[in-house]
Amino acid sequence: MKNYNPSFSKRSATNRRGFLKYLGPFLVLLSSPAFAFNIFKVLDPEGKNEEIQKARQAIEGLTGIIQSAEGLDYKSEFTIGESLALEGFQRYGLPLKNDRVQKYVNTLGNAVAKNSTRPEIPYYFVVVDSPIYNAFSCPGGIVFLSKSLVKGMNSEAELACVLSHEVAHVSHKHALSSVRRAKFFEGAAKIGTINMDGQDGRKYRDMVGNLQTVLFDKGLDKAMEYEADQSAMDVAYRTGYDPAGMIRVLKMLKKKEATATIKGSWFSTHPPLSSRIEKCNHWKGKYPDANQMARVKKRFMRYRQML
């Protein structure tokens, strides 16, 4: 039989109450780090109170993972995108030297982006001089498109669908989700400054390296690609283009598959074309007047001839 000690029990109850008293606010702060940081700013705007600053550091340390990847602020997301884009130019070649083509693709890309699920951020599109059939998007909105992929298309509606597909990856933060477990994110929020040549700088470069592996070699998760296809059809349709352009591009790629370079292309980084075509055909049912939507072949061909 256990000895009943009332004083011990009383102390435990007090401790429990004390624990619960702090647990609530602690969980609130933990669940919303941005809110927590704002509270600290209000309490101690000049950062002079040692206790408050200690508490801030503790919360920042604990929320390092929570703030990571998908929860990053736009500016950090864009910095990662820029770093990846620098690698993209080395892997897939430099921008095509034709200002009219670049302007055309940028105008169309921004037109569809305005109807995407994330129209608030700016998007940049660049056609690179590459023989590989490829397109990919960097976090924050920098979209790459190979010259060969554009050359294989036959209408503006097809290009609108491919650009919308890439915009969808940015909107849904697919690339960042794929590297959410990178060591860099674990401590990012608790560090005030990092030296690019130091340990944290190395972690950052490793994370960009992981992104390269995902986007240039392994490819994103299949579900993400299907989600981007579905979103592409919807965004193209909203803008006024025939959403079946997506199906036509996929069918074109299927024809090229046997003779094209596979490594680092849409063939190796995306799910099998037949399953994508099948799914897109199913989604097309949502747009009964798809045939009446714009395809804009003539204008597209004028620019395609410049490639």
């Binding site: 990053l72 430099l94 660049v126 005030g192 944290d200 950052y204």
Partner: protein, 175 residues
């Protein structure tokens, strides 16, 4: 027979009434970056108001690719169907934030960096100082830095997009 036709007409009238009630109670949201509320169901008609993303609208009627809607301020007009949805959009505010990587990479002050990110003309300067920092540490060739710089310096104005869609007879500019 007379009684049958009376019942038939009553059902028709009731159905029409029900459809109108359903239509009238449909709530729409502006999901595109912005949308023009037009006085008629054509893009060439006058603009009554420029609506922000997330604006709540009440659907009154449909005509082809255009919806007749009312705002919460009781403004009535027409809107292109591609600009709205029945699902409320998540509106993102572009916060520069002190804890961004901008401040992590070498302590660069980031408050003025990309401050024009939300500008409707989407005008942006080139390569950011943070990316320069990365390029230096990673040994990125100068030509790649120049390529990114040129890509980020490209400007697309809203008026360019409008003229582009009009010229191609796309969306709200279709015949």
């Amino acid at each position: 027979m007379h009684r049958l036709s009376y019942l038939f007409f009553r059902t028709i009238i009731l159905s029409v009434f029900m459809v109108s009630v359903c239509m009238a109670s449909t709530t729409l949201y502006v999901t595109s970056e912005s949308a023009d509320l037009k006085s008629e169901s054509t893009s060439s008609s006058s603009t009554i108001a420029e609506l922000e993303r997330g604006t709540v609208l009440l659907l009154i009627a449909k005509e082809g690719r255009w919806f007749r809607v009312a705002t919460q301020e009781s403004q009535r007009g027409w809107i292109y169907r591609g600009k709205v949805s029945e699902e409320q959009p998540e509106v993102e505010s572009i916060d520069e934030g002190e804890d961004s990587i901008g401040s992590l990479l070498g302590g660069l002050s980031g408050s003025d960096i990309r401050a024009d990110a939300a500008d409707s003309s989407r005008s942006i300067r080139g390569l950011s100082p943070e990316a320069e920092e990365y390029a230096k540490a990673a040994g990125t060739p100068r030509q790649s830095r120049n390529a990114l710089d040129a890509t980020l310096s490209r400007k697309v104005k809203d008026s360019d997009i409008e003229a582009f869609l009009k010229n191609g007879k796309v969306g709200e500019y279709a015949d």
